[in-house]
């Protein structure tokens, strides 16, 4: 045992490779975290940050990936989250894992109750809870139900919960994403304070200014590879430097060439303001305006939680949030899309980012899925002509090269790429003028991606407008004719693709400096 060298490292992950069917999410990633260090992990959405953290915390149990993990000098193989928690690693997810109806104390000790032979020692738990709350700087009655606390305070309870387990390494996944300025600051101070008490943190964040402020070292992950580790204290590390690392990749010939034949503006959204469905004071779209020309592919760039999907879905028949104000113009006339049906009627189509949850009925066959969004097209007086159905599905199977033995097969049996083609077929069948594609290539392997891009290009070439939402900047730069950037519900920029570069986009995606000139 090389105890001497390894005593320096709290955590060492070596040559971690994790594959999903058709996708290599992590390839040969190594990362070292020192004791009492704040180690940031940066990368684009889908670069593999979360996968790496799931490997570390045992969500993906030992054996489902290759490579080794050493924690406090010992080789560890976590079978589940419990095992990693037991070793002293706690992960705090983006979506908080607290139970709203239970009290602060109950949540802190959930699954870790102080007990004597199964009987909970409430007195000891409460005393300990008070102590933990003091450590995280939360001045609340431990008997308060979680639902009465704001998100910022809930985040602190999560950390208190981790501390109750005697944590040595805290993993924070986008800890400040849902927090306001003050709460964020408090949280960052707390993380720094914990570092002073010997607790190391791994922090995943899109907010580069925060990372720059608190991190000791930064590891950049791109396309499943660990690109580099920057030492903040060595100097020379600023937001631009991080961004360069995150996006520094050449645009290979991953995209079919464009033959733009762009017409006039035919679709416009003006001053679009939408309220979050549960949190009325949160605006997921703030006076957003955008337009689309015929035959144009318009990209929307933004980080997770910036409000891209929310914007798209609210335009698509108000299927997200509460409409406050704004107008939609199509072909020079104002249209009011109060529900999905009228959106489809007016020639809009929305391919959702989550095809399994939102896009398909996985119990259905390909044939039935293809016609599902416009049954009226093959029906008379409400009766479906199912002899047409087969021919239509068969046409799309050939056109989009859907790989299946038969269109009678269930969509659940298809690969991700082919499922996505079914979703595209379903919306092409509605004869849309404007297609909103939300992460159309997420979770799809490279070959199928090219085919999807080809389809998108062909649709634009037919004179349809396309709004392409994507977390992958290369995809936007390779596909879009023009790109809007979104930050915290606001459109911050509108750049022609010829002038856009990843650094400039990333800057507009991470700050509200520039106002849109739509």
């Amino acid at each position: 045992m090389k105890l001497n060298t390894e005593q320096h490292a709290l955590l060492e992950m070596r040559s971690i490779t994790k594959e999903f069917p058709g996708v290599k999410a992590l390839s040969d990633v190594s990362i070292t975290v020192h004791p009492a260090e704040i180690h940031a992990i940066c990368g684009e959405n889908g670069a593999g940050k979360s996968t790496l953290m799931k490997v570390l915390s045992g969500v993906y149990p030992a054996g489902t990936f290759t490579g080794e993990i050493r924690f406090r000098g010992e080789l560890v193989e976590f079978r589940d989250i419990r095992a990693s928690e037991h070793a002293g690693i706690a992960i705090i997810h983006q979506e908080l894992a607290l139970i709203p109806e239970l009290s602060v104390t109950e949540n802190i000790f959930l699954g870790n109750e102080i007990n004597h032979g199964g009987r909970i020692d409430w007195v000891a738990q409460k005393a300990r809870a008070l102590d933990l709350l003091a450590r995280v700087g939360l001045d609340e009655d431990p008997d308060t139900q979680i639902k009465h606390l704001g998100v910022g305070k809930q985040q602190l309870v999560e950390i208190a919960k981790a501390l109750a387990k005697d944590v040595k390494l805290l993993i924070l996944d986008e800890p400040t994403a849902a927090l306001n300025e003050d709460d964020s600051q408090h949280l960052l101070d707390l993380i720094r304070g914990l570092k002073g008490k010997g607790i190391a943190s791994i922090m995943i964040s899109h907010k580069l200014n925060e990372i720059e402020a608190v991190a000791d070292r930064i590891t950049i992950i791109r396309d499943g590879h660990a690109i580099e580790t920057l030492d903040v204290h060595a100097g020379g590390v600023d937001e631009d430097r991080i961004i360069r690392g995150m996006v520094g990749r050449s645009l290979e010939s991953r995209f079919p060439p464009r033959t733009p034949s762009i017409g006039d503006v035919f679709f416009e959204v003006k001053d679009w303001t939408i309220q979050h469905p549960q949190v009325p004071e949160r605006l997921v779209a703030k006076g957003s305006s955008l337009n689309v020309r015929r035959g144009e592919i318009v990209g929307i760039a933004g980080l997770m939680g910036a409000g891209r999907t929310e914007l798209a879905m609210s335009i698509f028949g108000r299927s997200y949030g509460n409409y406050l104000s704004g107008t939609i113009m199509k072909d020079g006339k104002e249209i009011v899309l109060k529900d999905v049906e009228s959106a489809i009627e007016h020639g809009l189509a929305y391919v959702s980012e989550d095809r399994k949850q939102l896009g398909l009925n996985l119990l259905d066959t390909i044939k039935r899925s293809v016609v599902a969004a416009k049954l009226t097209k093959i029906a008379k007086a409400g009766v479906i002509d199912d002899s047409q159905e087969f021919g239509i599905a068969e046409d799309y199977r050939k056109l989009l090269r859907i790989k299946t033995p038969s269109v009678e097969a269930g969509v659940s049996k298809l690969s991700g790429g082919n499922q996505q083609k079914v979703v595209l077929a379903k919306w092409m069948f509605t004869d849309p003028d404007l297609l909103i594609l939300d992460e159309p290539t997420r979770g799809i392997d490279v070959g199928a991606k090219y085919e999807i891009y080809t389809i998108i290009r062909a649709l634009a070439a037919q004179g349809k407008g396309v709004i392409l939402i994507s977390s992958e900047l290369p995809e936007l730069l390779g596909m879009a004719d023009r790109i809007y950037t979104v930050f915290e519900g606001q459109i911050t920029d509108n750049i022609p693709a010829t002038e856009a570069n990843p650094e400039a986009l990333m800057r507009s995606m991470t700050s509200a400096k520039k106002k849109a000139n739509a």
Binding site: P256, L360, L363, A372, K398, K403
Partner: protein, 451 residues
């Protein structure tokens, strides 16, 4: 072209999956294929056990008379369950409708056809009430219909003052009537046989039409022999059943309630398979969010499915009252459980999205013949209940288990391997059994699109 198409088992594969299509399309068909096998096994076992009593004309007529209202409930219940809901109120709604219809004839002297219209209207009103709570207020159907179960049971006993109310004899036709005898010198019921011949003819015509459409569309066709076997077996069963019904005791033949049942099965199979509304039921049940994002108004579907269930409950209630010649305070007790059991035995999924009208009717027939057979061999009611409970648990248990194993159902297993291969993702060139398709694969459209 590809490996699968050259497989010697390939034609058979098409045949089996095609046979299954008789029980509705989609992935649920296989489960019903299995349950149909179970039904046949149960009937055969009791046929032997009872020394031929089970399939005697008298007994068949009896089964139809006794269980038609449960099967009618199962038709509505499967739609409710596909939507991911449940309806516990059907027995009480049937009883409530029964008492109103009985009172309307006995005390307000309403002619019986109008009484039937009134009964359907009562069912629709109750259904609209329950549908409103489920669809537009968002109260879970379990709660709404649990409340309905209490409300309408109480309503029945309040209106009927917990005693029975007789119905006029003419009304009895819908519950205890038979197809009339024609004045022809034949020793069987002619109308019943005509009905059987029409049914068999329809089977033949339907198959011919389906093959023609498949040929026109270029979809894969089952080999000719499969079609022939299918038609001969199905038409044969229908004709044979018709013969049994036609040659029963003089004065009896195919019951009117059975005709109502058959008509409703055909109507609702059509609605669920061939109409936009039917598609919407499966769409919402399978993935509510995806359905709404495809423009389906899910609440409206919720509303009408709940409303429809109560209308069918009203029809079932009237048939029962007609057969019993009176409406009583305990009518319809426990029907909801029989109907729900029928639907689940018939292959519906508790999580919604899966199930068919035909499957549920077959599931109901499994329960009916089980009940009937056990009674014929003289089993006591307590034993019958225990066995029914075990059958329900076993049927659904096997289904759930085989699903987790990736197998469709207990009797579907024998045909499963081929089916599984059919449905897994194909190698690069999709195999097709239709000659000429291969050239289409590389024809103009996508080549022009791909630069």
């Amino acid at each position: 072209m590809s490996t699968t198409a050259n497989d010697p088992a390939a034609p058979k594969k098409g045949g089996l999956s095609d046979l299954r299509k008789v029980f509705g399309g989609g992935q649920s068909s296989l489960r019903q294929f299995g349950i149909l096998g179970s039904l046949i096994v149960i009937i055969l076992i009791f046929q032997i056990w009872t020394g031929g009593l089970t399939l005697s004309p008298t007994n068949l007529i009896n089964v139809v008379n006794q269980y038609s209202y449960i099967l009618i409930l199962a038709i509505g219940m499967v739609m409710v369950i596909i939507m991911g809901h449940i309806d516990l109120s059907v027995g009480s709604v049937a009883a409530f409708t029964g008492i109103i219809v009985a009172k309307s004839m006995a005390e307000w002297n309403l002619p019986w056809p109008w009484a039937i219209v009134l009964g359907i209207a009562v069912g629709a009103a109750i259904g609209a009430w329950q549908g409103f709570w489920v669809a537009y207020i968002g109260v879970p159907a379990f709660i709404v219909t649990l409340a309905g179960m209490l409300i309408f049971r109480g309503g029945n006993q309040f209106i009927g003052q917990s005693t029975t109310t007789p119905v006029p004899q003419e009304f009895g036709i819908i519950g205890a009537g038979y197809l009339p005898e024609l004045a022809v010198p034949l020793n069987f019921n002619v109308l019943t046989m005509i009905l059987g011949v029409v049914g068999a003819g329809w089977i033949v015509w339907n198959e011919v039409r389906a093959r023609r459409v498949q040929q026109k569309m270029g979809s894969e066709r089952a080999p000719m022999w499969v079609s022939v076997v299918k038609v001969v077996v199905l038409a044969g069963v229908i004709l044979w059943a018709a013969w049994l019904f036609a040659t029963g005791r003089p004065g009896t033949s195919f019951p009117i309630s059975g005709i109502i049942l058959v008509a409703l099965v055909i109507l609702y199979s059509f609605i669920t398979n061939n109409t936009i509304f039917g598609r919407h039921i499966y769409a919402v049940g399978g993935n509510r969010i995806a359905a709404t994002l495809s423009g389906v108004k899910d609440r409206r579907v919720d509303f009408f499915v709940m409303m429809n269930m109560s209308v069918l409950a009203a029809i079932a209630g009237m048939i029962y009252v007609a057969r019993a010649t009176a409406s009583g305070p305990q009518d319809g007790n426990g029907w909801e459980l029989d109907a729900i059991a029928a639907v689940f035995i018939g292959g519906a999924a508790v999580s919604g999205g899966i199930g068919t009208v035909i499957g549920s009717v077959i599931g109901g027939l499994v329960m009916a013949f089980l009940n009937n057979g056990l009674q014929l061999i003289g089993a006591d009611a307590d034993v019958v209940q225990i066995i029914k409970g075990l059958v329900l648990l076993f049927a659904v248990g096997v289904d759930v288990w085989s699903k987790s194993q990736g197998r469709p159902s207990i009797l579907g297993i024998w045909g499963n391997r081929r089916k599984a291969r059919l449905q897994t993702e194909a190698p690069d060139e999709a195999p097709t059994t239709v000659p000429g398709t291969q050239s289409n694969l590389s024809s103009q459209p996508e080549d022009a699109r791909r630069p």
